[in-house]
Symmetry: C2
Subunit: 197 residues, 2 copies
């Protein structure tokens, strides 16, 4: 049975962009498969008393994060544009990602969204941007209707509830053999942990 890593991401999260762009290659190199798990951080942040991104609530932390992202993206050859507004409303993108059941297809769509958002500064709550991402991923825009089904909405709600149960408090997070790893900085450790049996 193939070994697996769970990748939990929030579309509004800057550091999730970094992981989304490299996790598939990093996992494949070690013969591990990736489960792509969109979820919403909003409810979890609200538990902590935050009604906004901590990068907006705490300005010094926010200033640092933007500079850190700039440096990391430059080092990795990734384009980086600060989206406006930040954080983006990620609800529809997350529903769309869940509506795409095949994880390889979902991965391609997720990367298209992150590229639009942080690579090109586009607004991912905009339906025309979402439609363009579906097309870029080789998918039918009929997924947009499917994403409005009550079962998809419920599935996203359940993802976020599951994230809370798993002890997630930020994104990206990785689950390897039920062990939690947080942050793009821990992606390689998480992959090694998934392997180490």
């Amino acid at each position: 049975m193939a070994k697996t890593i769970q990748f939990w991401f929030e579309f509004a999260s800057t550091y999730s962009y970094l992981s989304a762009m490299r996790i598939e290659a990093a996992a494949q190199a070690k013969d591990i498969s990736v489960e792509w798990h969109p979820f919403l951080l909003g409810p979890i942040f609200a538990d902590q008393g935050w009604r906004n991104s901590p990068f907006n609530i705490y300005p010094a932390k926010g200033r640092y994060m933007w500079r850190d992202m700039e440096r990391l993206c430059a080092a990795r050859g990734l384009p980086f544009v600060r989206p406006d507004p930040f954080p983006q409303n990620s609800l529809n993108a997350a529903r769309l990602a869940l509506a795409i059941e095949d994880h390889m297809e979902r991965a391609v769509f997720v990367r298209a969204i992150y590229s639009a958002e942080f690579g090109a500064g586009q607004d991912i709550s905009d339906k025309s941007v979402l439609a363009a991402c579906l097309k870029a991923a080789g998918l039918s825009t009929s997924v947009m209707n499917r994403a409005q089904d009550p079962d998809v909405k419920k599935a996203l709600f359940e993802q976020s509830a599951r994230a809370r149960e798993l002890g997630l408090f930020g994104a990206p997070s990785f689950l390897a053999r039920e062990e939690l790893f947080w942050g793009d900085d821990r992606l390689d450790d998480a992959i090694d942990y998934a392997l180490a049996i």
Copy 2:
């Protein structure tokens, strides 16, 4: 002129322990010298509305941090004991570190404190622990009197004010050519940045 990296640490900070134990070797390997800068995070956290460690305020984040530290210390062959209480009162340790003017001597003392605190679970507000750390570092316990001088108290106050000016919001932080790096995960990047001219 030798290239330099500034290491800003808070004795109560778990992740600062990780950096304190490896920064000297990592910097020396690239012919860089380290300035050891103790400071207090309390006033900076208070600016953010926190009267306690964020790892206590946000339980999911705290649970994760302890597990993460356990994994990282195991991987690096470092002993790790959770001190009680957490966070420790680091005021006297920070004054002592500042009272030791030579940075090589200070470094040895700083590592002794972190080893007592996170390697052995000792209380670093306890004068007998502080005295033992001075001895372990080959220093006279007369530093304890010196640490109570008004100019040392003032110097620590100024360190924390300077930390705020530099945009520090957590520890460990590194300053390389006026560029800020946060977290033990960025230590190697900071050293490379200090080198890259």
